[in-house]
């Protein structure tokens, strides 16, 4: 069993379906599912121009992890959600489980209440997919140690 979900095409399609429905109902712009280390498992929607989702993911995961730790320091079990509000955009971040986070970016066309309402259902759908992926014994040969040795340069300069 894998502690990190392996994202098969089937799992990604299920997540995209869940996120598509979530964005449609909540009228948010963009959402992504992250692992606690800041890696994107799935994303859907339109991210603000000139934003790099990889960087948004790393920052969001770090921010949420800090929030969780802050909760512990003041005697709370956790803060299950985090809301950040700007002039035109807002970010809502909530935990799916201990290792997974859902991040939603939305604008003035919707409200925090609507986003929170639909996020609750989406979190359950995401959790089901993630748990199934984690419990999967599926194995696919990717590359061997010989393939790694044959690679001349790891990074291009």
């Amino acid at each position: 069993m894998h502690t990190t979900p392996i994202m098969t095409i089937h799992a990604v399609n299920q997540l995209i379906e869940a996120l598509e429905d979530y964005l449609d109902k909540s009228e948010a712009n963009f959402s992504m599912v992250l692992d606690r280390g800041g890696s994107i498992l799935c994303q859907h929607g339109t991210i603000p121009k000139n934003s790099d989702p990889v960087i948004v993911a790393a920052l969001a995961a770090g921010s949420f992890a800090a929030t969780k730790e802050l909760a512990h320091r003041i005697g709370e079990n956790e803060f299950s959600a985090l809301h950040q509000e700007g002039k035109t955009s807002q970010i809502f971040t909530c935990g799916v489980d201990d290792d997974t986070v859902l991040v939603t970016v939305f604008g003035p066309q919707t409200t925090l209440g609507l986003v929170r309402f639909y996020s609750a259902r989406t979190v359950k759908q995401i959790l089901e997919v993630i748990q199934e992926s984690r419990s999967s014994d599926e194995v696919v040969p990717l590359f061997t140690q010989q393939d790694v040795n044959a690679a001349k340069a790891i990074f291009s300069r």
Partner: protein
């Protein structure tokens, strides 16, 4: 643990640069960012104080070599080295795949080097892991300073576990040793990942054909866009 995305045909690793304050962790990332070509790097993000001291982390995403059709990606992080930011270091270490420990070669920094390495071991243990099972390399930075300790002394105090790890002398400000270090940790991670994958495939082949999934079988499903 490495993230495998069969849909995007990507394998992603998280590497954390660790070490005492002002040892050159951020300088390593800044040099790497300056050298890697535009198509294979993202923005270098630094969450720092006004005095350019790392407050939370630095982050640099890199695209690396494609192996058998799978894109390999590395996310490089640094931690704040100052003693008071230990809670933050623990957060940055979450889901780490590989570590670069950057030591400051100056004689007067030896105690800090040792304390920082001990702190790394403690923080790894807090996550239920063991430093001996996580790929890591050592970089002895600041070899250009007027009073550096000899490399063999740094080896004696930092590379003295049952299995010695690769170590590199470095001057991060000029780039010396920076890519040798990065390439070493990247190869270690790729080798470990490939070995684990080979083991898992061999185990499933012994279980019988029904437990084995071919890449073509997974690829037959299409990705919704």
């Amino acid at each position: 643990m490495a993230i495998i995305n069969y849909a995007n045909k990507e394998v992603q690793f998280k590497v954390v640069y660790y070490g005492p304050a002002l040892c050159g962790k951020t300088t390593n990332l800044a040099y790497i960012h300056a050298q890697v070509n535009e198509a294979n790097k993202g923005e270098l993000v630094s969450l720092a104080t006004a005095a350019d001291r790392t407050l939370f982390f630095d982050f640099l995403p890199l695209n690396a070599v494609v192996i058998k059709g799978f894109k390999t990606k590395f996310q490089l992080y640094t931690v704040p080295g100052q003693v008071m930011y230990n809670a933050t270091r623990q957060l940055v270490l979450r889901s780490v795949d590989g570590i670069v420990f950057v030591a400051d070669s100056q004689w007067e920094k030896m105690e800090e080097n040792i304390e920082s390495f001990a702190n790394l071991q403690e923080n790894i243990a807090r996550q239920g892991q063991n430093i001996d099972t996580i790929p890591y390399v050592l970089q002895y930075n600041k070899r250009d300073m007027p009073n550096p300790a000899p490399v063999h002394y740094l080896e004696f105090i930092l590379n003295n576990r049952r299995v010695r790890v690769p170590s590199f002398a470095g001057v991060a400000t000029s780039g010396q040793g920076v890519f040798q270090t990065l390439n070493a940790i990247s190869r270690l991670l790729l080798q470990k990942f490939a070995w684990e994958n080979e083991q898992a495939v061999a185990k499933h082949q012994r279980s019988g054909p029904s437990a084995f999934t071919s890449l073509s079988g997974i690829a037959a499903a299409t990705i919704r866009r």
